[in-house]
Assembly symmetry: D2
Homo-oligomer: 377 residues x 4
């Protein structure tokens, strides 16, 4: 693991996800730029001192050179701005990568990473964790099975209320860097939340967003950046839709949701109740599909641990990605090709498409609105 020292919230989520299905052992890492802090964190995680490195470059070099007991993959949980250089280093060293999202902040860098993955035949997982939910898999399968007919309208939202106040003035690190005009700037809400809604739209529908028209504004006065974005979307099959990303939508909790309307049916999923999927066929009553039910697809069943009425949540969905990657890593270790399916975990290409999407949305907004193409990396 690179990153994830004291106070790094998301790293603990990654570690919990790793533990949940008992498929990972953490063996090496750089947990902080401060060697003392790094060592302290490592001890707590029962990692031998000899495999705590002074920086990511040293780790990449040393681990790639090991004869045995080499790490199968590195987990990158640093701030977004450093993803590119760290991921590149490990990919060049021939080490598989699991990287927190978003992939990076420039499309040109994203493309380079995707190309490296391809060239070196490596496994790269971008932990767009919402793609791991059983009922998101169910939704994706139903769309691909044609149960909605042709997809015509997609309404996606990641409108959270987490920053409804000026939390950046409370010295909460995540709030400070996410609202810093020098770090992510106005694009922050799109990188942080918009990419989740974008990925969810793509994962569920199997379509690409090809054009975007964007508008932004500010909810919390005194904030240094825009904190709200409304987008119109055009999809690769001609479908249309909207995407709303916000960090200050009071009362919305986490606020990730998607509704997909085809010409034969519709689906709705809401992260606040992730074990349900509302499905409505054109010729019948709306149905409440619940995780664990007998009649779900194998894609949903594969990621259900207990059964009907035993809610699984955020950690389980995160763990689903990790477990899926573990299967891929083992297959690769056995010399088998890792077969990416239509519903596999998100990878570097998915990440690059997210970056392309944000860049295009920002261009649209900055030029005063209007349709802007999104490059399909």
């Amino acid at each position: 693991m690179v990153g994830g020292g004291p106070g790094a919230g998301i790293a603990e989520t990654h570690r919990t996800a790793m533990r949940l299905d008992d498929r990972y052992v953490m063996m090496a890492g750089v947990f902080s730029r401060d060697p003392e802090k790094s060592l302290t964190a490592a001890r707590k995680l029962r990692i031998p001192e000899g495999r705590v490195y002074r920086d990511y470059a040293a780790m990449a070099e040393a681990e790639s050179g090991r004869k045995d007991n080499r790490i199968d993959a590195v987990v990158i949980v640093t701030q977004t701005a450093s993803h590119y250089e760290i991921a590149r280093k490990f990919l060049k060293a021939g080490i598989n990568v699991i990287c927190d999202k978003p992939l990076c902040l420039k499309l040109v860098e994203a493309k380079e990473l995707a190309a490296l993955v391809e060239k070196n035949g490596l496994i790269f997982c971008l932990t767009h964790n919402y793609s791991g939910y059983a009922m998101v898999r169910q939704a994706a399968r139903m769309v691909r099975n044609g149960e909605l007919g042709r997809v015509k309208v997609v309404q996606a939202e990641h409108a959270s209320g987490w920053a409804s106040k000026l939390v950046e003035r409370e010295a909460i690190p995540q709030a400070v860097w996410r609202t810093d005009p020098e770090v992510l700037g106005d694009a922050s809400v799109l990188y942080d939340l918009g990419t989740h809604a974008h990925q969810l739209s793509r994962f569920v529908t199997g379509l690409e967003v090809t054009e975007v028209a964007a508008e932004m504004n500010q909810i919390v006065e005194g904030r240094a950046i825009k904190d709200n974005a409304n987008l119109l979307l055009r999809f690769s099959n001609g479908a249309r839709g909207t995407l709303w990303a916000s960090m200050a939508a009071i009362g919305n909790e986490h606020g990730l949701r998607i509704r997909v309307y085809g010409d034969r049916g519709s689906l709705a999923w809401h992260h606040e109740d992730p074990h349900y999927l509302r499905y409505c066929p054109i010729d019948g009553a709306p149905q409440i599909l619940a995780q664990g039910a007998d009649w779900l697809s194998s894609d949903a069943k594969r990621w259900t641990r207990v059964g009907l009425g035993h809610p699984e949540g955020f950690f389980e969905a995160f763990a689903n990605l990790y477990t899926e990657v573990a299967d891929a890593l083992l297959a690769k270790a056995d010399g088998k090709a890792y077969a990416k399916t239509d519903l596999s975990f998100p990878d570097a290409t998915d990440g690059a498409r997210g970056v392309a999407f944000v860049e295009s949305a920002m261009r649209s907004y900055e030029k005063g609105g209007g349709w802007t193409k999104v490059e399909l990396v």
Copy 2:
């Protein structure tokens, strides 16, 4: 009443709304262009033969000339295309008007009607019935009271599933004219449904939509017009939002809903459960406000007939407008000025703004998207 003969669904809704609070007696009318059908309808409604007219012009003339027992107002429930000329005739004859929505199909005509109302000092009610719901009044009052702080984001939808199939091929009159390219054309979904969402946004927030960027597409293949529209909105106070109008959103029932986010709180209302309002203050848990509760505003209480847990619905909301108009008509008959308040029933100006909104949205769409100003009539 003008219109409302056999098969005219909305006319029966108007008549039910009139009866509900026992504030109206129907005394005259033209119920069909066919004199026989008109007379038959009149008999069923117990209207004396002498006050069944051959056409609206004859009715306007005769009724305006009566010395006693003259109608207090005419109700216009014909197809949209004829609203303008009928309303103009009655307004010129000095007769108050209650008119089904939308007001008409051209902004220039809408302005003329609004000016006539003003000049002749008449009462004009456009039956945007959703403004009549007790909990919509509650929402509007809470926004005006500042309970949401400054309004920042408005998400409005009237995405119905009523025309998810090619219902126009089943010879249902409402489906035929609403999908006829020669009648309303691609603007149909905006005139029919979009104006409801537009009016609801204005009524709840007290803001005007000043600019719009529009995109349309088609859900049901084989249909002669577009049946789906996604719009970005800019509001008069700088708020932003979206409006989704659709006639083919499978599984959405009627699909009218609004969410308003301020910098101090948020509100959500959904027509499918109209007796509830979800309110979330910035510093507390979301609350479920229910019609009939003690702590609601007098604006909500005025329009609540029974009380908590006794749901009122579509007809009651419609009746609320009629009863409010009855009060205004009586006041006027008593020589008192009719005092329009900040939450009064929608009038000709509201109607004109709806027409301006649709015209601007269509211009935006037809030019390939991009922000387009909406004239504030």
Copy 3:
């Protein structure tokens, strides 16, 4: 109408229900024991002075003797305690009766009324208004169609929060008599609310409650009676269940709901959202059936005025009973037999069963619990 002078809330509901579908004209009445008040009320209702009577007996006599323009039925909306004598008088005079619930306060009287109805071939409607909801009819039809298999468990509640405070001390008439130990006593909560849940159970399942075991307690301290009752039920087909009646369940709004479980499926209906029915077949996902949907039974469609997504509520359900009775009255006036079907409006026998149910529950409670038979009148 007998009763329904100033301040009589339920009478206005009856009158609204009569008006809604325009099937009734009110022609005569006694609106108060105070002749002045009665006359004032009658004038407001546009009833000719000659048909305002000094008391119910005079009304029954005079109306039964009229040669023409005689009333088709009398509506009794007095307090429960006087229902018996008033209803008896009209029934003996050969006049059809529409009576507010509960029927009366003694089983022996209830039986006499039911027998009189039968003997005189009259129409008697007890306005158990919840049986009038379209989706309650849908539920009843689905059970009778076998869509739930054999009914095994019934969970019924009418646990309202209306008297969560000592409202009887606020001089609200309905609160005063309903908590008066001399009027209804501890049985009040069962007569007022329990009979609704009992009738709903019978109407939906087509089963009878044959045994009851009851427990009561008091929620609001200082109240003169018990205000909460929990009952175990045994049904005629061997099904089991519970019934909860309360007048002080904080936060429950009106609190009428029913859940029916068979061995092939289940149904749930909640008065707070009366246009929905949750249906779950044994082999599929739960479905949300909405009033107005294409796939509902004709029993539901008959009582739907507008359509999907246009909520109908309390008044419409009440009006449904009135309109159904109007059909029966017209049939009878035409000399046709009034054919009671399996889903017709509640009548005197239904009322008598409600009284028998309350009496048995009170006997069980007063003897310290344990199963007590309910007489099937």
Copy 4:
């Protein structure tokens, strides 16, 4: 761990719960009566061969005799019938116990276990996992804080649909033993599900069930036992309520829920959406309290890993108990007294009260209903 070999579903849940917060290392065990199977399971769990025992007695003896690296506690996940003897053995050997629920099948045995825990000063956790949910803790704290006033009515349900079909004929082991008249008999539904609802009622309200009146019936014909129970409850403070336990309530998913009504407010919690709590104060609107919100009690916050809108579910609640026990074990290892608080994890006394409850309910049912006292162990 004792038990938890191949196919033992609940054991995997225990192990996942142990791993989630990284507070446990599994070091010894007997995973099956078949030594081969036990060894295979142990290897998969990376447990050294020397600490895989031939039976629980050998394990208790050997582990209690170890000088160092001794197990801190044993986890018992065998079938209910063997809990008593296994737990007794370890308790007598001075080893702390974590035991799956229900505690055992006879009150006399339950008392003995509770007494042994007390006498030997040991930690005993009965994994009534629903007591581990953050929002259940919140509910319990609010009741104890008096936010509901005096508790008056408790409505508890654990009405699952898991055995709505004759699943026992499909050779599913859990279904076979749970419907075997020789194992748990008619009491099965009460032991398996009823004790959860009973414990939840006690944990949330802080009250004891002192009397019960029970009725049972059968939903699935052909089953060898009763599968449905409806109970009336009397609580130690005079409150009343009901408890519904079922294994065949079609459409109910897991079906665990509780509603508590006091004279100042009410609370409702439903396991299907465990991150929400509906709270209604007597003088305000119902509120939706969500896990992770700022205004929750420290009892809820202590068991929240991520925050608002990031649902935690079944495993997290289970893990909460394990982590709480880990704290107690560490305190004890440090020679500190383990301080049981009013909201600590369920223990042997809680388990004994569950057994007493089931025995009393069965006595009530078998004697034909009527109130039966529940011994407060």
